[in-house]
């Protein structure tokens, strides 16, 4: 059913994931279905995200991306199918699975009236981090996003792009191995969008992170990405950009996506 995508081993990967063999997929979704009442939101979806690298989850609004994210982050559980994070079953070992995930939700979730540092501390605490570790990690991550001097400002005072970067820093605070982002560029201007995308790509490269980035914007995908195409709750394609294009007989991803999602549109 699912096969772990095997990447060339590198010492840094095994150093980070000493708890899991490097060949284990960061995320393995297997035959996942979920419905709300009669409405089927996800219909027998299976795919894997390699343990390092950038994976684009492409889908129009209503494709089931947010439901998928809710299930992966265990906001609620699916009726059928399995989700494994670095080999840990989300249903049976939720703690071990959730420890390895960092999430940036579609909606902004920072407390606007608290400072950046207070927000990060809250998150660190939720992950059971020792306050001194949390403080050190917050400094590191804020330096990385270039907001060290704003640590004691209220989030309300930050721009939309800055808030997003803080949310990414927050998601990385507890050193997850899989970073999930649900439409992280929605509502941002072109510059901030490009900036956020470049930032996460750099993170992915430098830290051997596995990234799953959900979007409906085709231009956010790069040639070397893996892609997963979701449409109306069903998996339409998954693989490298090249494979997906070859499969659909198209030259570029936007055309491939159009071909995969053509026809029946939801009323």
């Amino acid at each position: 059913m699912f096969e772990a995508v095997v990447l060339p081993e590198s010492p840094s990967i095994s150093a980070i994931h000493e708890h899991a063999a490097p060949s284990v997929a960061a995320l393995a979704v297997e035959d996942l279905s979920h419905s709300f009442g009669k409405r089927v939101a996800l219909d027998h979806v299976s795919f894997t995200v390699p343990p390092a690298g950038f994976t684009m989850l492409l889908g129009l609004n209503g494709a089931g991306k947010t439901t998928l994210f809710s299930l992966i982050t265990r906001l609620y559980s699916s009726r059928s199918g399995d989700i494994r994070i670095f080999g840990f079953d989300l249903r049976r070992q939720p703690t071990r699975a959730l420890e390895r995930i960092g999430v940036v939700f579609q909606q902004p979730t920072l407390d606007l009236d608290l400072t950046v540092r207070q927000n990060l501390r809250y998150h660190g605490g939720l992950h059971g981090m020792r306050p001194s570790d949390c403080e050190a990690r917050a400094r590191e991550e804020l330096a990385r996003i270039g907001l060290s001097d704003r640590a004691d400002d209220k989030v309300r005072a930050l721009s939309g792009g800055q808030r997003r970067r803080v949310e990414i820093a927050r998601a990385l605070l507890h050193r997850p191995s899989l970073l999930l982002l649900d439409e992280p560029t929605v509502g941002l201007d072109v510059d901030s969008r490009r900036h956020i995308l470049a930032h996460v790509r750099a993170l992915c490269r430098e830290q051997d992170l596995a990234v799953l980035w959900a979007t409906h914007l085709m231009d956010e995908a790069a040639a070397e990405d893996s892609v997963v195409v979701l449409h109306q709750g069903r998996l339409r394609a998954s693989g490298s950009v090249r494979e997906v294009c070859a499969e659909t007989g198209t030259a570029a991803l936007p055309a491939a996506f159009a071909a995969l999602t053509a026809g029946e549109r939801r009323p």
Partner: protein, 271 residues
């Protein structure tokens, strides 16, 4: 997961709740003004109408002001419990609830931590109120201020758990006003907060029964007795039992596999 992990988590949830509370000064004043209006206006007007005979835990004739204070303390906790659950619905709509629930700690623990944080805030309000009531002339025994603390924790948790349970049934923020009308007011008025149960029985035996079985009455009595250094065992058992029941149901309602979200979807899916 070590014990320290749990402690850091609880601490950060309480700190956040405290910070948020400090940022909402209007909320603090509203929470304080409400019982003070009752004490300074209602109680004064009622003093003449309603004579209170000697009933436990009081050992002498008391003014109505003194009778009503424990009820108003419980009212602070009731409003707080409901306000917290209101903020849960808000957090759910706004997404910050997701941040909380992505924590790898068990969900029941996160919910209990959230409740404890709300209770800590409500207790701070209660003590400020008790201080003002003391200036007003309501002076329970000094040790009573200490003895009432465990009662406040227990009753606060119970009322908070009730709010949490209600919040899991409410789909959207707008529906919450209804809950307030149908829960807070009946609970408050059909209780021993404003008038002793024997007085209610004189008026209506049915209402007496309702009031006697009202968990809020039990919370009020638990607080009243401990403030005067007595233990009302019945009330204690009632409050503890209701806490177990409400909390159990709330944990079930927020369970990933069974809860409301799994059936109807989160806010984003409804869009």
């Amino acid at each position: 997961m070590s014990a320290a992990t749990y402690w850091y988590c609880l601490r950060s949830i309480i700190v956040r709740e405290g910070l948020r509370f400090l940022h909402q000064r209007e909320r603090f004043f509203a929470a304080l003004v409400r019982p003070l209006v009752w004490l300074a206006i209602f109680a004064v007007g009622f003093r003449a109408v309603l004579g209170v005979s000697i009933i436990p835990p009081y050992e002498t004739y008391i003014l109505y002001d003194e009778y009503v204070v424990p009820g108003l303390v419980a009212m602070i906790q009731l409003f707080n419990g409901m306000q917290n659950s209101l903020s849960m619905v808000y957090d759910r709509e706004m997404g910050s609830m997701r941040t909380l629930l992505v924590s790898p700690l068990p969900r029941w623990y996160l919910l209990v931590a959230k409740l404890l944080a709300g209770v800590a805030v409500s207790i701070a309000q209660v003590y400020v109120f008790l201080g003002i009531a003391w200036l007003w002339g309501v002076e329970p025994p000094p040790l009573g201020y200490l003895a009432v603390l465990p009662a406040l924790v227990l009753s606060g948790l119970m009322l908070g758990a009730l709010g949490l349970l209600l919040s899991s049934f409410v789909k959207q923020l707008e529906n919450f006003a209804g809950v307030m009308n149908f829960v807070i007011f009946p609970m408050f008025f059909a209780s021993s907060a404003l008038y002793p149960l024997w007085r209610i029985r004189e008026g209506s035996p049915t209402l007496y029964l309702i009031a006697a079985y009202n968990p809020f009455t039990q919370a009020v009595e638990l607080i009243r007795f401990s403030l005067y250094l007595r233990v009302d065992v019945t009330a204690l058992l009632w409050v503890a039992g209701c806490l177990a029941l409400f909390l159990g149901a709330a944990v079930l309602a927020y369970d990933p596999g069974r809860g409301l979200w799994a059936r109807r979807g989160g806010p984003a899916e409804q869009a």
